[in-house]
Structure formats: C-alpha cells, structure tokens
Symmetry: C2
Subunit: 342 residues, 2 copies
C-alpha cells in the first residue's frame, strides 16, 4: 500500500508498551486526506525521522512533553512537500521540515513547520539528520555545554547513531581527541575510517572499561551522554577535572530498565563533586527559537559541502516505520534512521 493522492495512511499508538515496544505497539490505518482550512497548508510526507526520543513520547506518563495517547497519531519530524496552500508563507512545491508525524498527509497552520528548505537543498533528508534535530542536538551540546578546547578528549556513545556521528565530527573539527563507543566491529570501523574518529570502542566485547581507558589515555573532558546503562559506568571513572557532561538522552533507560545492583547515585555525586564536573540535561526542542537559526547559518555550508558527513539508514515505506523504530531502540540501525515515505 504505497502513498496515494486519495488516502492518508497513518500510524496510531495502540497502547503504551510495557518494556520494549514491538511493531504491534502501532496500528496502520487509512483515513481520508484532510482538507486545509484558511491559513493552512496541506503537507505530503516525503521523509519521516525515527529517533530514540520517541520512546519517551509513548511512555505511560508524561515525560518532558505530554505523552501520545492510545489512538493518537504518532508524532515525529518529517520533510514534507506543500501540496496545497492557503498560507501566504508557503507555495505548492515548497519543501519544509515539519512535525507532521507518522502519516502521509497533515494540515498545518505553520506552527509545526521548523524551517522551509532552501530551493538548492541537494538532499532533503539531511534536514532530519545533520541539518535537523540530531545535528542541532550535537551542535548545541558541544558548543553550548561541552565547550571543547583543542587537545581535550571527547567521548560519545552510539557513535554511528544520528547524534553520535555528527557530534564526533564536530568535536574533531574543534581539535579534540575523539573516541566513539559503538556496537560491533563494522560500526567502530566506520567511525574511525569514514567519520575520522581517533578511536572507537566496541561495547559488545569483554572488558569495556579497560579498552575505553586505553583509548582515552588522558581521561575524558567531555562525555556526551545519550545512552546511560553500562557504558556510563565505564565512562565515569575516566572523567577529568572540570569535565562536562551534556545529557541529551538515556536510551538504555527509556523502557524503564535499571541495571540492578547497588545504588550508584552517591558514587556519581561524589565524582561530580571531586572532579568539579558540570552535568547539564537539555531537551533540544526548547532551543529552536534561540539557537536553530545560528546552527543553520554556521553548519549548512560545511554539511552541504560534505565536510561533515552523515550515514543514513533508510527504511522503505511508512508501513515499515514501527519495525524500524524497534530496531533503532535495539541498536539494529547503522546510521541515522529515516523512513522514505513517498
């Protein structure tokens, strides 16, 4: 059932999953294409972004934003084409980055349109990756919280994920010694050979702490926290004096899993104190008004020129989005996950 001009396929949440979601967490339905009212546009989804934060949005309780309720269309960032317009700011044929969700069509008064893509945009899906939310997350975390100095050591987990790829390359451009953590030899090899990381440690092998320590011989000055879990335990003892830890995600804990075992909080706070660490949680959606324009101004040219690369993991068709999301949460993706909807 491909995209059509007459039906709007959408994926609704069946129920908030206990533990890890499955493909059956969502249900595909077909409804009529909506009609834009005065001041509205009709958007046709070309690309849908799949991201780890979506796990938080389908939790039983509200997280940093209200939870999606059963029966509601799943939320998500898209690159969409304006196919009808009653809005002065948009013409038929414009491409936009919007939050249309997991569906073929959406009407919008413009409030969920992040940016209109330049006519010259060569690869629109970049606006879900290196020029979209993940790239913006990477840039914000590094420039506003991490504040790297040349020669410092920067570490990121999920190193070939959407955020990890970009922030590692940005840290490298800032003169850091960049060490990734990823699952499997292929990903680690890619991080070093294609993305230019100095090293990448496979978290699936034995004795992660020792191998990470060997790769970070001067300790860690900036750790981009986006996973939580056992990786965090390997990182913490290596954190240097006056180190910084932007916290943008905790994928290992989104489904409610802890690590079992003893309470690590006193030890963590002691490290934070003794090492004068700065830990700062942020939700990138807050930062668009103040910073997204600066990000685009600074990064569009180098990204379009290929100086900062992104590997995409393309999922074929809207109907495959639920399975793609499940694989993303399990680390089965290799690169930024985008769904080719149209």
């Amino acid at each position: 059932m491909p995209q059509s001009a007459t039906a709007n396929r959408h994926l609704v949440l069946v129920a908030s999953p206990k533990g890890e979601p499955t493909a059956d967490t969502f249900r595909l339905e077909s409804v009529p294409v909506p009609t834009p009212g005065p001041g509205q546009v009709l958007l046709r989804t070309l690309w849908l972004s799949l991201d780890p934060y979506m796990r938080v949005r389908i939790a039983e309780t509200d997280g940093y934003m209200p939870a999606v309720k059963p029966g509601e269309v799943m939320v998500g960032g898209t690159v969409s084409e304006v196919v009808a317009s009653n809005h002065d700011g948009y013409q038929v044929g414009d491409l936009v980055q919007s939050y249309s969700g997991w569906q073929d069509y959406a009407v919008s008064g413009g409030e969920d349109i992040i940016v209109k893509l330049p006519k010259a945009a060569k690869q629109p899906s970049l606006y879900l990756g290196s020029l979209g939310m993940p790239g913006f997350t990477a840039w914000y975390a590094l420039s506003q919280i991490g504040k790297p100095k040349a020669g410092e050591t920067f570490v990121v987990a999920a190193a070939t994920g959407a955020v990890g790829q970009i922030i590692g390359q940005l840290a490298k451009r800032a003169g850091c010694h960049v060490v990734g953590i990823a699952g499997g030899a292929d990903k680690c090899s890619y991080a070093v050979k294609e993305l230019g990381f100095d090293a990448c440690v496979d978290h699936r092998g034995a004795d992660l702490p020792a191998r990470l320590k060997a790769a970070c011989s001067s300790g860690i000055d900036i750790y981009m926290e986006n996973v939580g879990g056992p990786v965090f335990d390997a990182v913490l003892p290596l954190m240097n004096m006056n180190s910084r830890m932007p916290v943008c995600g905790l994928i290992a804990h989104y489904s409610g899993a802890g690590l079992g075992g003893a309470d690590r909080l006193p030890g963590f706070l002691t490290e934070a104190l003794f090492k004068r660490m700065k830990i700062e949680g942020f939700i990138i959606f807050d930062q668009y008004p103040a910073h997204y324009g600066s990000f685009l101004a600074e990064m569009t040219a180098p990204i379009e020129a290929g100086a900062v690369k992104i590997r995409e993991h393309v999922v074929g068709g809207l109907e495959a989005a639920p399975q793609g999301f499940v694989e993303l949460l399990g680390g089965g993706n290799f690169g930024k996950v985008v769904v080719k909807v149209a």
Copy 2:
C-alpha cells in the same frame, strides 16, 4: 594544657577511620615551637575552623586533594596572629586567615595565607565563617552556579550549618523563597526566626518528602547540595524545569555510607534530562584566586554590619577539636564550628 609560648601542641592523624571517625582518630602531641626561616613568619593559632570537608581529607585514598597521611598534622583553616616575622609583607601583630592546621604554631612563607585581616575587623573568627571558606562557598554557589531570580524557590540542607546559614540569607537577599532543612525543632526555629528563612523542615520527623513539598509549593529552582543521603530523595522530585544544583558537599557519604536499596542513578539522570537540570560540582579551594577578592569586596560591609548573620558553635581549646569534629559530622553542632585555640 593551654596554649603556651614554648610548646607547640598539634593533632596528628592516627589512621584513616573506617566509617565515622572518633576522637581517637587524632592524637595530641607536643613539640617545640618552630623557628621561622628567611622570608617566613611564625603564626600563632587563635581560632581553628572545623568543617565537614575534613572528613574527605582523612580518607584512605586521595579525594579532590591528597589525603592526610597517618602521623601528619591535620589540616585546617585558622585565624592566626603573626608573632615573629622575617617576611616583608607581615608585621608582628597582624592577624591573618591561613591554613595552619590543627596546631598552636606554624611557620609560613605566605603561600598558605589567604588574606590579612583588616585592622578594623571586629570579630576575627568571622574569617572562618561568613567571611571565610563557608561564606565564600555560599556566595560562589549562589552567584556563579545557582544564579537566582527573584521569586524562585531556594532550598538548602544543614540549614544552620556554616554554609547553610549564609547561603539561605544570601538567597533571601536575592528575593527567593527560602526553605531550609535541618535536624531538630531548635535549628528549624532559628532558621526562620533569626535567619529569616521562609520555612525550615525538620528532616528528623516522619514523612519528610510531604513536608518539604508543602513548604515548596512552587517546586524547587535551586538546591544547594551539601549533604546527600535521604534528603536528596525528598528534594529530587520537587526540582523544577531549568533548575540548578550546585554540589559543594555530600556529608552523608563521606564515610562511605550508601543508602542501600535500588540503584537511583538512572532515575536521577532521567530527572536531570527531563527537567533540563544543571548540576555542577565545585571545590571552593579552586576558586580563591579568581573570586575571593570579589566576594570580600561585596560581602565585608554587609556582614560586618550584621545584615548577614552567622551563629557560631564555639569549641573550647585545641584538645577538644577531635570531639568537636566528630559531633560536627553527626550533626551535633548548632552553627559554624570554630575552636578557640588561644
């Protein structure tokens, strides 16, 4: 055995304590008064400061500074009088704030002298309290990390301790709703009636979380973390969006005690993420070169004028310092602990 002109009493560490220290953790010895060499002064201790951070300094392993070793004189801040001088910067009779340690006399080349007291200083022991390390800690945490806005809610535990007293009053001057946490009705009453806190919650009573929540009806914007332990669990759920947590101490954990029970770290990091919290550990000893002068310039007048009060808990005599320290760690003090040595 009072202070004399001919003997130097000092307290040495016997051994790093397992768990809580006792008075026998230190041993009183008497040695000859040292003779200052070229460029040195001889300092006579008038007042010795006792502070929770000292527990860290006698740990088995180095903390944020090298540990005091068995047989070494215990470290500590003092207000001392120059009784002999071969140093151009100091004259006999000058009072100084220094790090002479737990002893009657010390020689110094000036490197451990923090500041010379003004001739007009009315109460020299204030330079161990509101104008000394604890006051500086309070001022730094609030002005450089907490960054209060009028109307925000500020919470501090150990509210009648050396740092708690001062930071609560400073937050009040900044227009905050100030809530203390302290052990016992007397301390809580003092915090409200004498220090001007808006409320103070007794952590010894039942159902601390509910009583703290009632006192913080708009949540918590700034939490000065200086204790750790169960208080932290009551505070965390009340932290607001974009809240700040300077971490200057963890007295509940200095002797290695955990809380038992489940791992609270994933929950903490999730709160930090969802609430966009900023957590920053600092060691005030780092900050003297850059900030202590600004602190004195800003705070000397209001403190000398009594606009910011400090209650002292005076321990009589150097020989009583070990017991005073043990009581401080157990919360048996009521106010800033200073030992009247001379």
